[in-house]
């Protein structure tokens, strides 16, 4: 049985930060993402629960900060009705930023025809793309009437948990058909969210999203995945070195039940399918590997233990 892994974000100086990554490797943890920015570095990692204090102590010595990031290893779609200045960048991008602070990888998605009330539509391709994520946060507007009566049709066909963010505070989740959660106080604005009330709404949203993700993790634990996504990521790093030539900030993006490998499908899918594990199994035995609807990437969805019959 593998150790229980806890998600953390480390923020500190770039000087000697490799000590942390080395220790993490020794402990059997996983480095999920490393974002260097001038003299600072942000490390997103999974640490074995019993050894968190070791990293924390070392981090303190290096004058860095270690914080729990409960959304680590999730990929969240932040959906805005259109790409027009009415809906972007404000509020939707702030929502995405708060999700990233929680450790998630986010993708912004602007629908092609999501504007308006009667005329708003979502496309089959868009719905499928949203369904590739762990969950979707929809950023809606100011008017309760639109959120209750008109916009829910954009949620139809989306099978992942759907969280709706909107302006009015008195709308209840049940009133938004199809939504798993409604969070108010984050409506359309034309400025960056930085007032105390706005920021606390975003904190509230993050808190609620974390609750949903925790619940999804619990459900997953009942019938666990055949292999942990971070372990697959590690094998990709070792067996497909071309991944280091990818310029995307997260060349391998973890999801709760899979991962997105940002390599061209046609060229690399066979190598991903044939990833070998120490137990003598291949990735294709434990996961379905398909072409992602995002660019030409590879989408890996790991099967459950009950389906495969073993765990690696």
């Amino acid at each position: 049985m593998a150790a229980v892994l806890e998600p953390y974000i480390y923020e500190g100086g770039i000087h000697q930060h490799t000590l942390i990554t080395e220790l993490l490797e020794d402990l059997g943890g996983y480095l999920i993402q490393k974002v260097p920015a001038a003299t600072e570095v942000t490390l997103v990692m999974l640490i074995p629960r019993d050894d968190v204090h070791l990293i924390e102590e070392l981090g303190k010595k290096l004058l860095g900060k270690l914080e729990r990031a409960p959304l680590t290893g999730t990929e969240i779609a932040v959906v805005s009705p259109t790409l027009a200045s009415h809906h972007l960048p404000h509020s939707a991008c702030d929502v995405a930023e708060f999700m990233r602070r929680g450790g998630a990888n986010t993708n912004m998605l602007g629908l092609a025809r999501g504007m308006g009330r009667r005329v708003s539509l979502s496309d089959n391709y868009e719905r499928k793309l949203i369904n590739e994520h762990d969950l979707a946060v929809f950023s809606f507007g100011t008017f309760a009437d639109c959120i209750k009566n008109k916009k829910p049709k954009l949620l139809e066909g989306v099978t992942v948990p759907k969280i709706v963010a909107g302006g009015p505070l008195d709308v209840k989740t049940e009133e938004v058909a199809g939504a798993d959660l409604y969070v108010g106080g984050i409506g359309r604005v034309a400025h960056r969210l930085r007032k105390p009330g706005e920021l606390s709404s975003l904190d509230n949203l993050l808190e609620k999203v974390v609750e949903i993700v925790e619940k999804m993790r619990e459900d997953l634990a009942k019938d666990p995945l055949a292999v942990l996504p971070p372990r697959v990521m590690k094998e990709i790093h070792e067996q497909i070195p071309e991944i280091f030539d990818v310029f995307s900030p997260a060349p391998v993006t973890l999801q709760l039940d899979g991962l997105r490998v940002k390599l061209p499908y046609d060229e690399f899918h066979e190598r991903v399918e044939n990833l070998e594990f120490d137990e003598g199994v291949r990735l294709s035995d434990m996961a379905s590997i398909t072409k992602s609807r995002m660019k030409n990437y590879i989408l890996v969805k790991i099967k459950r233990e009950s389906e495969v019959g073993f765990t690696a």
Binding site: H86, G116, T142, F143, G187, V189, A190, H191
Partner: protein
């Protein structure tokens, strides 16, 4: 009329009107329209997919001449030099553009940021011409900024629009369905109401 002496945003649910007011206020700030608008009233009825706006402008803004932004003097009668000393830099790029077009780049010397030196044959005539040269016309850009504001303030998707600009009264209505006559009338009535406030 004071700038923004009336600024009302009405909606079916009053709190939503307040939230929308902050959007409109942000847009007014972004487009620097605060000084130009005297009164503004917006009415939004989401259940009808209707957005209406009436604006009363604060009189016409005068054109900006060179004499408004600095002084023009003859500084050297022998070499026939005219010097423009700039006090307000805001419209300097527009002024330079016009001068370059007339005298050529080499003909306009700018020894430092706020001083322009030209040479001319007929000094008095040239000075008089320069003083009255129109550099910018805020009124011209105002109208395009007003339209831009209306489009930004309307909920995205309300693409059936009506607008009218009559002197200093701007009336705007937008919906996603067929625009009814009574809605346009209602928007006009809001404008009339605003004018009567005096």
């Amino acid at each position: 009329m004071e700038p923004l002496e009336t600024f009302v945003v009405e909606s079916t649910i009053p709190e939503e009107g307040d939230a929308y007011k902050s959007i409109v206020a942000d847009i007014i700030t972004e487009l620097v329209l605060g000084g130009a608008i005297g009164r503004i009233k917006v009415r939004v009825r989401p259940e009808d997919s209707l957005f209406m706006m009436a604006i009363i402008l604060r009189g016409t803004q005068p054109t900006v001449k060179v004499s408004d932004m600095g002084s023009v003097d003859v500084t050297n009668h022998l070499t026939k030099e005219v010097t423009i000393s700039i006090e307000q830099e805001k419209y300097l790029p527009q002024l330079l553009e016009q001068l370059w077009a007339k005298y050529g780049r080499a003909g306009v010397r700018q020894p430092e940021r706020k001083t322009l030196i030209l040479t001319a044959e007929n000094l008095d005539e040239e000075v008089e011409f320069l003083r009255n040269l129109v550099v910018a016309d805020p009124q011209k850009t105002l109208q395009s900024r007003l339209v831009e504001m209306a489009i930004r303030a309307t909920p995205e998707g309300f693409r059936v629009r009506y607008h009218s600009m009559d002197n200093h009264v701007f009336v705007f209505a937008a919906t996603e369905d067929i625009l009814k006559k009574e809605w346009i009338q209602e928007a006009q009535d809001i404008a009339t109401e605003l004018q009567e406030d005096e």
